[in-house]
Symmetry: C2
Subunit: 270 residues, 2 copies
Amino acid sequence: MFNKKQHVDFQGQSKLGVPPYNNTDSTSERAFRKTSNHCPHNTACEGCSSRHLSLCSALDRDELKDFSKISIDYQKEAKQIICSEDEEAKYLYNIRSGTVRISKMLSDGRRQITGFLFAGDFFGLSCKDRYNFTAEAVTNVDICRFPRTKIMQSFRDYPNLGERVFDMTRTELDSTHDQMLLLGRKTAQEKLCSFLLAMKEKLGRLEVVAENEVDIPMSRTDIADYLGLTVETISRQFTKLHKKGLIEMEGAHKVFLKDIKALSALAIGD
Amino acid sequence: MFNKKQHVDFQGQSKLGVPPYNNTDSTSERAFRKTSNHCPHNTACEGCSSRHLSLCSALDRDELKDFSKISIDYQKEAKQIICSEDEEAKYLYNIRSGTVRISKMLSDGRRQITGFLFAGDFFGLSCKDRYNFTAEAVTNVDICRFPRTKIMQSFRDYPNLGERVFDMTRTELDSTHDQMLLLGRKTAQEKLCSFLLAMKEKLGRLEVVAENEVDIPMSRTDIADYLGLTVETISRQFTKLHKKGLIEMEGAHKVFLKDIKALSALAIGD
DNA sequence: CGATGGATTGAACTGGTTCAAGTGGAGTGG
DNA sequence: CCACTCCACTTGAACCAGTTCAATCCATCG
C-alpha cells in the first residue's frame, strides 16, 4: 500500500490512545503513567517522547527516529485556531496534550462541532486539498505537525504505520455513525447522557481522577454545538440530571456521575 | 502497508463511481456507457465485468483475475436484509447495482439511516468483529461479497488496492461530517434541498436521465430517517418546494429540479 | 372490486428554541 | 481589599418548527 499515490491529502480524526510523554505538568505525568500503551521500546526514547505519540508503537526504534524527523512540535493557546475550513491542507496534526474541537459552519453562523479531540488523536487526513473543517484549541494544546506529502510517503515506507492509521480512520468512521444516530434521533436528555458517558470513557484513559469524576474541558456552548442543541437546553438538562440525583456538579466543569447504570439507560432511550 | 495485521474487520462506505458492467437491462447499459471510469484494461475483461467493480482500476489484469477469485456474487430483493447489527462481521460488500440503506436503531424503534449506497459503493469495513449497523436492500440489488480476512490479505498483496480503499474511507469520513452539520443544524427545508441535490449528484453518475431529473429510489420514510425528520415533514416540505416552483413531481419518486441555484442556496441556508 | 400500504393533508400539541433577565466567579484596577 | 466589569452559565416565559395523531387519497395488486 502507498507505493504510488495521487491524492496525498488528509482529513480524519482517530483515537490513538497514547497520552503525551514528555509533558512536565503533574496531571500529564500521571496521565502517562496511567496508560499501559507508552513507549513500546521500553526506553522512553526521543521519538516516542516528543514527535508522534500514538503512532510510535507501529514502528521499531530506528524507523521511529527517521519518522520523527519530518515533524515539528508547537503550542497553541486556548481559543486559537489551528487550521481553518478552505485553507490549503498542508499538514496532518497529532495532539500531544489538551483538547481540540473540529467544527463546520453555515454562512449565518450556525455551527456544528463534529468532534472533540484529545492527546493521542490526530486530524487533517482528507482526500481534498483544502481542509473542510476548522480546528481550534479548546484548552492550551501541544501539537505535533507532519507535512502531508511526507507522511503519505511514510505510510508507504512503513506499512505498519499506514495500516495503523487506516485502522484508526475506520474506527473514527464507526463513531461518526453513532453520532449521527445521536444527532438525528435522540432527545436532549439522551444526548447529554451519551455525551457525559463518552467523555468519561475518553478522558478516563488520559487522566487519573476519582472513578466517576469527569472533568469537562469545553464550554456549554461547545457542548451545545456538538449535540445539535442550544446552550440553554444544555444548562437545563444538567439541572434536570442533577435534580434526578444522577449527577453532582462542582463548578460548571467538574461532574460526578452518581449512577452510571441509570445514565447509560437514559443515553440509549431505555 | 498491510504486511501484518491483527484487526481484519471492516466498516465503511465509499463512493467508488463505477457502475455495473454486465448488467443486461437497458438502463444499466446506458449507465455503463455514461461513465468514463470503466474497465481500465480496455478489454471488458471478466474481472472488471463481474467481481469487484470500482476496485478494478487499482489492479492490472492478472492481479484482477486472482483478486476476483475470492468473491462471490448474488442478489437480494428489495426490503431484504443484507447484514444486521451485532452479527459477526465476516464480509466486505460491494454493490454492483441497486440501492442499499445502512441504518442504526434505538431499542424503542427510532431509526437513523446513516447512508444510502449505490452501484460501486462498498460497506462492511470496520475494526470491530461485529457489524455495528444494518444493511438492507432498498431496491433489488446485485451484490459482490468478499471474506474480510481474504480481502485484508489482498490489501497487503496489492498495495494500490489498499490505498484506494483507504482513500475511499477518508472521503466517506469527510461526507459524514457534512451529514452531521445537516442533522445537527439545518432546518427541514435545508435538509430536503441538500438531500435532493446530493441525490442528483450521486445518481447522475449512474443513470442517464434528463439534466435536472432525479429518480429517488427510496420511500418517504427512508428519507425521513436519513434526515432526522418524520414522514409527514418530508411530505410537507416536498409540497412546499413544489409550491415555490423549485421542483416538479411525477409520482412520488421522480423529481425535476427546476431551479438548481435556488435549491443550492436553500440547502446551505443562504 | 376491495384490500393493502405508501403518501399527503389537517389540526392539536410539545420539546426545544428564542428572547430576556439574573447569577456567580475570575480578573482588574483603584 | 473591595468595587467593578466581564463573561460564562442559569433560569424564566413566550413562542414555534417539527411531531403526533387522525383522516384521506391514490396506486397497485390479487
